[in-house]
């Protein structure tokens, strides 16, 4: 079973505080959607509104063209996996999974078959008769997912389900979730503040900031053509370099000039740009390390981060600005070296005062 979900003009207030401000979003059937954003951006609230755990103040939510925002949570045909897993502590794993089905009168044989099938998918038949207190964090996580699977819901909602797991288990569970999505072909909505989870799992990412959706797009769209300065800074590690710049718009493409005279020829059409003061943005991997004097700017190496396959180089420009560049894993650069930084004009971005972004023409 799967479903498309339509969110139209939804708002939410907690007292005087607006948490979500006229939000609209279409989720297609079988899509894996990730709500990504910092704490307090309203992503969990939006998920809980879809689940029915928070009331919708205005606007509407529809699943398969049927409005559900007035229905109680249990009648919406969705299943949710909580951050804390929210397993019933006094029930066995089997009873945890059976509870929701028994409540709506599903026959015992069907319940039994579904539990066995879910246990098989999640490789946990040996856990069925244990209680949550006897399980590890990763096993509880599986049970929580199993409890969702047996309901055969139209959509799965995940509220930061990986954040209580250790790093290794988180990576493994992430892959398993991706496989689960392929196997079940169900609509899934996943809330996280972890951009790696968002990039790796999502068909489309919904980046939320400050009560609104900043951008909806595939992971690579979000990464390569961020709609706002917030998205550009939030997605990607290390964060995108930002430098204040004035523009020379006399040519076909704009040239960005930094405070100390450094200039970078972008491939962003001058005709689109109306102002002279922008923030220039570029990702670390688009800043190559070259010999001093050979690039757009020279800098002195502050810090090196060796990540194995590449080396991140934090260089300080003449005016004190720090730029992160990227070099090969076996880079010979050392702290204190004077190096050149070559900016890739094709991969440069410009942001105006309101945070709106401009990018090079698509190749």
């Amino acid at each position: 079973m799967t479903a498309d979900i339509e969110i139209r003009n939804v708002s939410k207030q907690f007292g005087a505080m607006t948490v979500l401000d006229h939000l609209s979003l279409s989720i297609r059937a079988r899509e894996f959607i990730v709500f990504l954003g910092p704490s307090g951006c309203g992503k969990s609230t939006l998920l809980r509104m879809i689940a029915g755990l928070e009331a919708v103040d205005s606007g509407e939510i529809a699943i398969n063209n049927e409005r559900i925002d007035h229905l109680p949570p249990g009648k919406r045909g969705i299943a949710m996996v909580f951050q804390s897993y929210a397993l019933y502590p006094h029930m066995t794993v089997r009873d945890n999974m059976a509870f929701g089905l028994a409540n709506i009168g599903v026959p015992g044989k069907v319940i039994e078959a579904r539990i066995n099938e879910a246990a098989r998918i999640l490789e946990m038949p040996h856990l069925l008769d244990r209680k949550p207190g006897q399980l590890s964090g990763g096993q509880r996580q599986r049970v929580a997912i199993g409890r969702a699977i047996v309901k055969e819901p139209k959509a799965f909602l995940f509220d930061e389900p990986l954040s209580n797991l250790d790093a290794a288990l988180r990576t493994r569970t992430r892959i398993e979730l991706a496989q689960l999505h392929q196997r079940l072909q169900s609509t899934m909505i996943f809330v996280t503040h972890d951009q790696v989870e968002a990039m790796t799992l999502a068909d489309r990412i919904v980046v939320m900031n400050n009560r609104k959706i900043d951008q909806i797009g595939t992971p690579m769209e979000i990464y390569e053509r961020p709609a706002t300065k917030f998205v550009a800074g939030f997605v990607g590690a290390p964060a995108m370099n930002f430098v204040d710049a004035t523009l020379d718009r006399s040519g076909k493409n704009a040239t960005a000039r930094f405070a100390d005279g450094i200039s970078v020829q972008t491939e962003i059409a001058s005709s689109q740009l109306t102002d002279d003061n922008y923030t220039f943005g570029i990702r670390s991997e688009d800043v190559r390390i070259v010999a001093a004097g050979q690039g757009n700017a020279d800098g002195v190496v502050d810090v090196l981060e060796r990540l194995g396959e590449r080396t991140l180089i934090y260089a300080r420009l003449g005016d004190g600005q720090q730029i992160v560049g990227s070099d090969a894993g076996n880079s010979r650069v050392a702290v204190g070296d004077r190096i050149g930084l070559a900016f890739d004009g094709q991969k440069s971005h410009l942001f105006n005062e309101t945070g709106r972004a401009w990018h090079a023409r698509e190749a």
């Binding site: 029915g52 755990l53 909580f82 929210a86 502590p89 006094h90 029930m91 409540n103 709506i104």
Partner: protein, 311 residues
């Protein structure tokens, strides 16, 4: 303590190797000073009277002499004393009337008042406020309610032209009257224990239950009640221990009457030891009560120790 210090591995290993590393967990006699004040009062006010009471219970004693050793003589006298046997029955009957009622009403109030509204907060305070009153005030209030002809109950019954039940003088109702006053007085503690247990149930379990289509009854039966099972048992045991010590209400409302029907064990002890000055017999009755309460307290210990299926 001394043994552990002498055989401490750090102490032996350190000899001849290097300066011993200070073991911050090593026992030190001067730490005893910190517990000494408590131990002093515990010994003089609890332990010593307890042992003295046991000793007394094997002797024929009055205020003027600690008398002769009579072995189990006092206990044999109790066994044949109809008033004492009646008082044991009275105590059990009283506990039977109050303990389940307190637990159930306390649970019901807690379920009703476990919300964040101002009304609930005010009502919580109101229901708890009776607990801070002294037994004298409580019995005074309930005497005013129960008193024949002019009491509150009589007045209310009078409006409908009926006669109020005689809760203080009717032999079959007197204990029930004391139980009603006691429940009114003691309801605050069970309610608060249940409230704190209810508030410790994670909210997201209820959200999961809502997504699992559980209605209110299913949620109560399958989520709430199992989650507070241990508190329920705890409340029962605490109340058994407390209500077995009934004294003030019975003494002030009925003086144990009519015809000893509301005389609990503690009142029997008081009568025997401090009005008839038969200290040995009183001490023996105290030991019986002590054992009854000890059994309940041991049950409490066993229940709170087994943490079975808590997540």
């Amino acid at each position: 303590m001394v043994d552990r210090l002498a055989t401490s591995p750090t102490a032996t290993l350190a000899v001849g190797v290097r300066a011993p590393t200070a073991d911050i967990y090593a026992p030190q006699w001067r730490n005893f000073i910190f517990v000494a004040p408590f131990l002093f009062f515990f010994t003089t006010l609890l332990l010593f009277p307890l042992l003295w009471g046991m000793w007394l219970s094997f002797h024929k004693a009055d205020t003027f002499s600690s008398g002769n050793f009579v072995g189990l003589g006092n206990y044999a006298r109790l066994y044949h004393d109809k008033v004492f046997l009646q008082s044991i029955w009275n105590t059990f009957y009283f506990a039977l009337l109050t303990v389940p009622t307190l637990a159930l009403i306390g649970l019901f109030l807690a379920l009703c008042l476990n919300r964040r509204t101002r009304t609930a907060a005010v009502l919580r305070t109101l229901f708890f406020s009776s607990s801070v009153l002294s037994v004298t005030i409580v019995t005074l209030i309930w005497r005013i309610v129960f008193i024949p002809n002019v009491g509150l109950l009589s007045t209310i019954y009078g409006w409908f032209g009926a006669t109020a039940p005689a809760f203080i003088s009717d032999p079959s109702l007197a204990m029930i009257g004391i139980a009603i006053a006691t429940i009114w007085w003691c309801i605050g503690l069970p309610m608060m224990l249940f409230l704190s247990a209810l508030q410790q149930i994670p909210q997201d379990i209820y959200e999961a239950a809502a997504l699992d289509n559980a209605n209110r009854w299913q949620t109560l039966r399958s989520i709430t009640l199992p989650s507070i099972k241990r508190t329920f048992i705890l409340v029962i045991i605490i109340q058994i221990v407390l209500q077995f010590q009934l004294f003030g209400q019975a003494w002030l409302m009925t003086r144990g009457g009519p015809n000893n029907l509301t005389k609990p064990i503690v009142l029997y002890i008081y009568d025997t030891a401090f009005r008839r000055w038969d200290l040995g017999l009183g001490a023996a009755a105290s030991e019986i009560l002590f054992i009854l309460i000890l059994v309940a307290a041991m049950a409490q210990y066993l229940v709170t120790r087994s943490r079975g299926d808590q997540a």
